[in-house]
């Protein structure tokens, strides 16, 4: 252990001697280059981070708008027991919005009322993103076997008739995967931008 640390110390000492041994001319040149490089990296990081943040926000807003629209349309269909109409509405939402991965409706007791899955609603989905009593909506990013999903929950008729859950696929919605919150973009060099308070990762 002490052997390792003394070796590292020796290595650092040598590195320091090398640095201090360089002529002032090269030192200045090196510093200018380093500042330009760091500044460039920082600006790129900031622009990409802001873009990622804005795209993620717009995706969430779209998900909320779709879920609330579905909840509003579903109200009269549920109250008039129009199950066929309700399923047609789910189908139309999926067909007209390719990034919508799933939609399902729960009743006030949490039972599935209608859904867009081929057979059953995956149990994992039922356990997450539960809406509070007075929440107008709730957004939760989920990891899945198909990538990241933005899951939006919205109440139907103030929650008296249950909840709409709508999942937007991040990959389908975003053509640039490097903008995803978890992409390699947030690797070590960019950590500095996050450390400095920029929205690199969230």
């Amino acid at each position: 252990m002490s052997d390792h640390s003394s070796r590292a110390r020796r290595w650092l000492r040598r590195f320091w001697q090398w640095i201090t041994g360089i002529s002032i001319r090269y030192k200045l040149l090196g510093m200018v280059l380093a500042v330009i490089l760091l500044l460039g990296l920082a600006v790129t990081a900031q622009v990409q981070a802001q873009l990622a943040h804005d795209l993620r926000q717009s995706l969430e807003e779209r998900g909320i708008a779709l879920a609330r629209d579905m909840a509003d349309d579903a109200t009269d269909l549920i109250l008039t027991q129009n199950i066929f109409g309700l399923n047609q509405k789910l189908r139309a939402t999926l067909e007209t919005n390719p990034d919508v991965r799933y939609v399902f409706l729960l009743d006030a007791q949490g039972q599935v009322r209608a859904h867009s899955f081929p057979n059953r609603v995956p149990p994992d989905l039922l356990a997450v993103n539960r809406l509070g009593p007075d929440q107008p909506w709730r957004v939760q990013i989920l990891d899945s076997d198909e990538g990241l999903i933005t899951d939006v929950a919205a109440p139907i008729f103030e929650g008296k008739l249950g909840t709409v859950r709508l999942g937007l696929s991040l990959i389908a919605g975003w053509k640039q995967p490097w903008l995803l919150p978890h992409a390699g973009f947030c690797s070590p060099p960019w950590r500095l931008s996050s450390w400095a308070g920029w929205p690199c990762c969230s």
């Binding site: 129009n82 599935v112 009322r113 057979n119 609603v121 994992d124 076997d145 919150p181 070590p188 500095l192």
Partner: protein, 307 residues
């Protein structure tokens, strides 16, 4: 002296190496075939529910809010679950009663005389409001419009409620027939809104120039939304008609029929019943007088061409 410098450089490297680790989101499996929830059965096991069909006199949301306390009261009094059935049109509600898919119905007088004539409806009880079991049709226009009389609406856009509605269509058809007119010949355009509150809002929003609506719905809506009332003006009131009744199929189990009638008639004597009546803007339910619907029968006979 050099140790702090080494430590600073080392610290900076460590900071850089602290990768922004992938945020941890809850993991869900989307592709599971055998597990998961299916659509729940519509009815839970247990006692069969009393199926109450309510015509879309007001919109489905308003009906749900207005009638839920009444249904809770009936469930308690009859000791059985109560199921609310709504449909977009009066004809579909009549069909539920005709085919036995609903046990009792809260319907419009115009739909009642149709069901009575075809032999699948009988009166069970009627609501009493302000000491009377009657209501009127009101012809309304936007408050800032130039229309002062019914004749001013000639060639204009007009809203009916439902093809089977008395105050929302039949009365006006009859009135036009007395003038030798039909809705098509008198108005420029007519639409159906499928509930009285929708017709009232259609006039307030300027979607149509006038509408014929139920006075009970109009009074209740204007009371709860005074701003809406300020945007509307009544230009004509009809004579009184028999109030929208509670009906059953004549073949309904007599014991159930009697139990529901007793529960409704005794509602104003029960604290929970009184609360439900207050939400409905009804004083109490009373026994019906079939003769109160005679004027609607006569109008329907003429307008619908009954032999």
């Amino acid at each position: 002296m050099r140790r702090p410098v080494y430590m600073f450089i080392l610290g900076l490297f460590l900071l850089l190496l602290t990768a922004c680790s992938r945020p941890t989101y809850p993991f869900v499996r989307l592709n599971v075939e055998a597990e998961g929830a299916v659509v729940a059965a519509e009815r839970a096991a247990g006692r069969l529910p009393l199926r109450v069909a309510i015509a879309a006199v007001i919109s489905p949301k308003a009906t749900f809010d207005t009638y839920s306390p009444l249904l809770d009261y009936l469930a308690k009094r009859l000791d059985r679950p109560v199921e609310l059935l709504q449909r977009p049109t009066y004809a579909e509600i009549n069909e539920l009663l005709r085919t036995g898919q609903a046990d009792i119905g809260f319907i419009c007088g115009g739909a009642y005389v149709e069901g009575e004539r075809e032999g699948y409806m009988e009166l069970l009880a009627v609501p009493e409001i302000g000491g009377t079991a009657t209501y009127r049709a009101l012809i309304i226009v936007p408050a800032d419009s130039p229309y002062r009389s019914f004749e001013d609406l000639r060639g204009r856009r007009f809203a009916f409620t439902d093809p089977l509605s008395n105050s929302g269509r039949l009365y006006l058809q009859y009135r036009l027939a007395q003038m030798g007119e039909t809705p098509d010949s008198f108005f420029g355009e007519t639409i159906y809104t499928y509930s009285h509150d929708n017709s009232i809002r259609a006039v307030a929003q300027g979607i149509v120039d006038g509408a014929t609506v139920d006075s009970l719905v109009f009074d209740a809506l204007v009371k709860s939304e005074p701003e809406l009332g300020k945007r509307l003006r009544i230009i004509e009131r009809s004579r009184p008609f028999g109030i929208p009744p509670v009906v059953v199929h004549p073949d309904l189990d007599p014991a159930l029929k009697m139990a529901v009638r007793d529960a409704l008639i005794g509602m104003h004597k029960d604290p929970q019943g009184r609360q439900a009546l207050a939400v409905l803007h009804v004083d109490r339910f009373v026994l019906p007088d079939p003769a109160a619907y005679e004027s609607i029968r006569r109008m329907a006979a003429q307008v619908r061409g009954w032999k």
